[in-house]
Amino acid sequence: MSSRRDFFSGAAALVGAGLVSRAGAATLPEAPIMGSAATQPPPAPPNGRPYNPVVTLNGWSLPWRMKDGVKEFHLIAEPVVREIAPGMKANLWGYNGQSPGPTIEVVEGDRVRIFVTNRLPEHTSIHWHGQRLPNGMDGITGLTQPGIQPGKTFVYEFVARRPGTFMYHPHADEMVQMAMGMMGFWVTHPKNPALHAVDRDFVFLLNAYDIEPGSYTPKVNEMTDFNLWTFNSRAFPGIDTMNVRQGDRVRIRAGNLTMTNHPIHLHGHEFEVTGTDGGWTRPESRWPEVTTDIAVGQMRAIEFIADAPGDWPFHCHKSHHTMNAMGHKVPTLIGVDQRGVAEKIAKLVPDYMVMGDKGGSMGGMDMPIPENTLPMMGGQGPFGDIEMGGMFTLLKVRKDQKPGDYRDPGWYRHPPGTVAWEWTGEPPAAVRSNGPGAAATPDRKPVEVEVTVRKPTGHQGHH
């Protein structure tokens, strides 16, 4: 006699076995693989309900198959090689050829069926972060489902009920699997495409890795001392710019799957936070910002009118997060005269070069560094080095950027007289006015500041 429990577990096993063996090839939707780390322009939805597609920064959206009114996607969890930036590649785990995986875009009310094939060396699962769904579809190994064993395919099926911004990631050995880059973006568009429609809708995840300089695979046990801070597993100067037309209403959505918060800051504009983890914010609750902090595990959507032409930085405001790999224990050498010592060191280390005595800026020094390691700061701008790395990119606002055109328009051409310039005149003489009012500003006398240190003695406190 079989109990309910036996029935369900048997059914689950059947589904899994049926898909990978006999009828597998016939019933599994195709799983497209992406080989490029470039931003893919969004295609309009070929079928189903209409929506305004998003642009995944340095990523793509996953095509689906319509079957009996259900949108079927196929994710393959697998090891991938992700280019973090030109000059550096990482051995990560991801989905369908990239990490993060492709963005899944559906419309409110869609029935969604996602096939997940595991090609990792260990079991996995997918948790649909923020979704309203049946408990058994929540993707928690051990709690709501068994792990998807290597070589097996599981099916998740639910109705995308709430419109908004979501993420997906494993809830199986997640410390390792997320440190290895397993995550992806999810957007549920509103049924009515006219509802809070924007002209450009950019999405990406905030992620962090600890990849030892000269190596390729993240250290999966790190918790605090990460050395690569990335948007969609890309570090500046490898992050694509967000190219918009002047006057566009722009939305940027970000989800934070790192282990710390990120105050994301936009130059040249004010924005409003229009979406949170819980959905769309009511217009009367919004306030203007230039920086919004995205806490761990949170998603934010910000919106603004891109009315100021130019190349505007958009970055995390934690300065270490706009740096690539660097030595966090390197002592400060500012103001240290290394003459004499430097010669001594150079005798022992022939290629030694004095650094850091004037600050951290390496001022165009082009010295060899370990293989597969990005310079601490990189990227060339029209005026020289952009001394940035990590979570940094640009919002490029152009008058003539065509709708639907996401190509990089190049550097901004500043109208005459709108760039900070060097003043080359004579220094002004320090002349004291003898006119009326001079008495009100008496000759300044140097003020002696005496720093006194009270030293403790044995008798203090006994009076």
């Binding site: 300089p213 240290v336 001594k344 005798k347 022992l348 280390v349 370990p370």
Partner: protein, 465 residues
């Protein structure tokens, strides 16, 4: 000492014998030195000469030593100087003369003595005239000559052994001295690295970038490196002085120069050969043991034949001790067969002979073992030195290169760069020591084959170990 007067007839016979024997006892032309020199050059490729300060040969030797010492010494040149100059070796060679003199002496009768006595008392005077001849000496002369001939042979072997040992010790001292000087130079570089770190730390502290704690740590490093340098410098002096002693250098001779570095490793190690068999043929200490065994056998024959002559009570029982001059001798006891017909004496002689046989066999067994051990040390020394040269040092270089790349990328600090420089210097130093150990092992392998190494311990020592 008075000897018993003999009847006249005997005196005449003795006198005739004296004339005959006196003719066969004379000194050789070279005093045994040629034989020693041949044995030495067969083994170490260099001959030995005995000369005295002031004579023509001495002047030549002095000039040759001076010429060799004037340029950076090679190991062979150091050995040459030692053979020319080392006083202990010259003492050993001089002992050859003593042994030969003993041999010649053994072939000569004691001079006959003439006695005269006058005794008077009770109004009578008794005058006695006598001619005294050393009858015992006459009877034992063939035995003594035989023994002395072997002792002379032994002295030649011992002198050659001393020369071969001196050569091996000098070579080892040379390798030690050169390596110690190299190590001292590296210790100087380590200190420079540490000093650079300490100075940088001091400047950082001065402008407020480093705590007193961290500065003190860098200074402590530097201070420790200074202490190590002092030790290394003394070691270099001590090793050099050891070499100077081996070469018997003094006065202006001590200003000799050494090359900057040890000789390179040979391209390939020696192939394992029939080193044990070679050692059995070549080793001078084993030859000496065989010589003593033969002598004991001969003495045993005498004892057996007569039962009245005992040459075993002393003589060949002594063995040389390392570090002190060889002392031996013998006594011949001629007994009158009144009560003891010699049975016990023969038994004892046989037992002594057997002890001698075992001792010689034991020496051979130990020598074989020494050769096998020396071979292992040689091969290991070669492989280790090559491992350091081809693996460890290049890896350390690679580490340094990578560390510098990390410094360039501001991933590590200058202090890590300096710490790495120190450890790389340490690695190179370890490679030098491995190279030195190889050359010493090479010398010791030669010594184990030719008998210029550690003496084979005698049975008693062997058992007590």
């Amino acid at each position: 000492m008075r000897t018993q007067p003999f009847p006249i007839r005997l005196r005449v016979a003795a006198g005739a014998c004296l004339l005959v024997l006196g003719g066969c006892a004379s000194f050789s032309k070279d005093g045994g030195l040629d034989a020693v020199s041949t044995m030495t050059s067969e083994r170490i490729g260099q001959d030995v000469r005995l000369h005295e300060t002031g004579d023509a040969a001495g002047d030549d030797a002095h000039a040759e030593a001076a010429r060799l010492l004037a340029q950076p010494l090679t190991p062979d040149a150091a050995v040459r100087v030692a053979l020319l100059n080392n006083r202990a070796l010259r003492a050993s060679l001089a002992r050859l003369g003593v042994a030969e003199a003993d041999l010649v002496q053994a072939g000569r009768m004691r001079n006959p003595g003439i006695g005269f006595s006058r005794m008077s008392g009770g109004g009578e005077t008794d005058i006695e005239r006598s001619v005294m001849v050393d009858l015992v000496g006459l009877l034992t002369m063939p035995m003594r000559r035989d023994i002395e001939a072997r002792r002379f042979e032994g002295a030649k072997l011992a002198a050659a052994l001393d020369a071969v040992r001196l050569a091996a010790d000098t070579r080892k001292a040379w390798f030690n001295a050169v390596a110690a000087a190299q190590s001292a130079r590296y210790a100087g570089q380590v200190r420079e690295a540490a000093q650079a770190g300490a100075e940088l730390a001091a400047r950082m502290a001065q402008v407020g970038n480093l705590s007193a704690l961290d500065q003190a740590r860098e200074q402590a490093f530097s201070a420790e490196a200074t202490a190590q340098l002092a030790r290394a410098r003394h070691n270099a002096v001590a090793a050099r002085e050891h070499l100077a002693r081996m070469m018997g250098a003094w006065g202006e001779q001590t200003a000799f120069g050494l090359p900057e570095r040890l000789p390179d490793l040979p391209a390939s190690p020696k192939a394992a050969g029939a080193f044990e068999a070679e050692a059995m043929q070549q080793r001078l200490d084993l030859r000496l043991a065989r010589l003593e065994l033969e002598a004991t056998a001969r003495a045993l024959g005498l004892t057996k034949a007569t039962g009245f002559i005992n040459v075993l009570d002393a003589g060949y029982l002594n063995s040389s001790k390392t570090g002190s001059a060889r002392e031996d001798g013998y006594a011949i006891e001629l007994s009158l067969p009144l009560f003891d017909w010699g049975g016990a004496r023969v038994a004892k002689a046989e037992a002594v002979y057997m002890a001698s046989v075992h001792r010689a066999a034991s020496a051979a067994v130990l020598a074989r073992s020494q050769v096998r051990e020396a071979w292992s040390a040689y091969r290991t020394g070669y492989d280790l030195a090559r491992h350091y040269r081809d693996e460890i040092v290049p890896l350390q270089k690679k580490i340094s290169d990578e560390t510098l790349l990390r410094y360039n990328g501001m991933l590590v600090s200058v202090f890590e760069l300096l710490a790495d420089a120190r450890s790389q210097i340490g690695g190179v130093n370890a490679a030098i020591l491995a190279q030195r150990d190889f050359w010493i092992a090479e010398t010791e392998l030669q010594a184990a084959i030719h008998g210029g190494g550690a003496a084979v311990p005698n049975t008693e020592q062997g058992l007590s170990q």
